[in-house]
Symmetry: C2
DNA sequence: TGCTTTTGATAAAACGTTTTACTTAAAAAA
DNA sequence: TTTTTTAAGTAAAACGTTTTATCAAAAGCA
């Protein structure tokens, strides 16, 4: 059960180690017959190249690193399938870690992966601080693709059309009739989330005379159900039903729904609720929440494909593309009674 | 922005590369003063050891591999926190991949990680086929810890007390009065899941004369809400309410609850339902499902700690320990009306 | 024939560490 | 004083690849 190296094969085949390497990597000019012979021999002997050695030598590792905020972020779980399928397609593998929305951890994890020799990074950054990522990118000479963040245009990025989604919700709310329109927004440091707020307010400012950003927009500290639940006290104190509430994402919206259930408020009659993301548990457990569908899986695919493309095509790295994917409004029972 | 190596430090400090390595790794016998001096210099120059080089040389990587079945397995998400905290504690990092309950993929991912030089593996295996893991373990000379699987006692493992949990559910059902007791079991290849069935049936065989494994146990192909939902048709065709149904896990139980809601069956009056795992969304979204709580976080911690222990302590590897953690019954509205 | 090009293959350096065995100088023991 | 021990440090090999520069032989060309 001894581990066999490229030298063992060379010895067995009666050639040099260099020849074996060349044969296996489709380089140099060997006669096709030799190449096949060596390939077959390596296969037969159960040879597996030593990943550390080739990484050390500067050949790639065939592995890309992914840094997300939370593993149990449902959005990520969907995106993950896309990442995986695109990676499989190209024979790449990848390694994942979570930052817990903590800049330091994000930086630490990305560095660690880079030092371990990943061929590129896909990052769902926790804020607008991207300098450290830039540094990693040049220090290790690897491409980086951002997910849903585009403030700095020095980075390649894949994002959902947040503005369009928010506008669709706004239009939908206006069709519901004469209600108090409210937005429960998220932390300001996330550009995607700010885009939602800005687009929603823009439509409302134009179409709903009673709407003002000061009175009708609230902020939750955390993007969780608890966050949504907690903020409802403030909203209820400031306004009379019926409301229509646009939550910054589905988790927050679920917190609102729970609040309503506990306080005897009817949805959608007293409180209409819309979320953002269309997380998988809505459909899986039949939760009737109106929301904006984000093509998470496709975002994952695109991110991985773009990254792998940047690896070979150095020109792309000069002018990193920013891809915006379309979203769609899914109307369910939380805004329209069935 | 050139990358600095151990040689740069050696040159700067006026010593040899060997000395620097020794100083940094607390080996050899250097005067404390020198050691500190070199440490400080390395720090100041922003030296980061090249992970590939040290891995190639046979020093560890400080990274362990984790193979689970599904990323969006809620049980894993909880366990993950434990893995993380234990790893952080020891300055280790880890990399995760999913097998999709596919033996080939499980094997492939584990191999890949081993080849990349992880210092150990934590695996949530998809079945009883463990030969390939054994091979990886000796081939790369790394320890392996299994999560919730103990058929082969050649492996170290962390598991929940499945039998005890199932017995508690059974006792609870018997207290509910005179109802048809049913178990919706899972795939046979998972020993933990089989243990639940076996323990539940054992109690029922003793205490409920009308219970028979042939008539009162059903099987779902997939451990999902869809699986539970789909099997309810068969259960409803074979028995009259009121039932008490013990689902093999919470996801399956959620499928049952959804079926009941859609078919106008009252819980717990017509159908009492219990699950297993106490997945986080139950509490987060206020879903009143009676279930058996598994200390997932602690399982993660223990698994990581045990693995790291095995790394240093070769003796432990001779007789790999199997740790069984206690569970508890959590009674909620799906079996007892509040 | 002699000259150049192509083909097939190799030796050796390089990647950045860790570690073993060895050296030298100083301190301790005789 | 000489011998032995210890302290402090180093040279060099090793880990398993990839790649560059080189070389010999064969083939093409005049």
């Amino acid at each position: 059960m001894k581990k066999i190296t490229i030298l063992d094969i060379a010895r067995e085949a009666g050639v040099s180690a260099a020849t074996v390497s060349l044969a296996l990597n489709d380089k140099g000019n060997l006669p096709e017959e030799r190449r096949r012979g060596i390939r077959a021999l390596a296969q037969k002997m159960g040879y597996r190249p030593n990943a550390m050695a080739r990484a050390l030598r500067g050949a790639g590792t065939g592995c890309v690193g992914v840094v997300i905020n939370y593993f149990n972020n449902p959005f990520f779980r969907s995106m993950f399938a896309g990442l995986e399928s695109a990676a499989d397609e190209s024979g790449f593998s990848f390694t994942v870690s979570q930052s817990r929305d903590n800049l330091e951890k994000e930086c630490h994890n990305a560095s660690l992966m880079a030092e371990r020799g990943v061929d590129g990074l896909i990052v769902l950054p926790c804020g607008n601080e991207l300098a450290h990522l830039k540094e990693i990118s040049i220090r290790h000479n690897i491409p980086i693709v951002l997910i849903s963040h585009t403030l700095e245009d020095e980075f390649a990025a894949i994002e959902a059309d947040n503005q369009r989604g928010a506008r669709m919700v706004a239009e939908h709310f206006l069709e519901l009739g004469d209600r108090t329109n409210i937005h429960l927004a998220g932390p300001q440091r996330k550009s995607g989330i700010m885009n939602r707020k800005q687009a929603f307010c823009e439509v409302m400012a134009r179409r709903d005379p009673s709407f003002s950003e000061e009175r009708n927009v609230f902020y939750t500290k955390t993007l969780t159900a608890e966050g949504g639940f907690a903020m409802m006290d403030e909203i209820a104190a400031a306004h009379q039903p019926p409301y229509s509430i646009f939550a910054v994402n589905d988790e927050v919206a679920l917190g609102i729904l729970r609040y309503c259930r506990q306080h005897g408020l009817l949805t959608p009659e007293d409180v209409a609720v819309a979320g953002f993301s269309d997380i998988d548990i809505l459909e899986a457990y039949g939760i009737p929440l109106t929301t904006v569908h984000i093509p998470a899986r496709r975002m994952g695919e695109n991110a991985m494909e773009l990254l792998l493309e940047m690896r070979k095509n150095a020109k792309i790295r000069q002018f990193p593309p920013i891809v915006t994917l379309p979203v769609s409004l899914i109307v369910r029972g939380s805004t329209v009674s069935s």
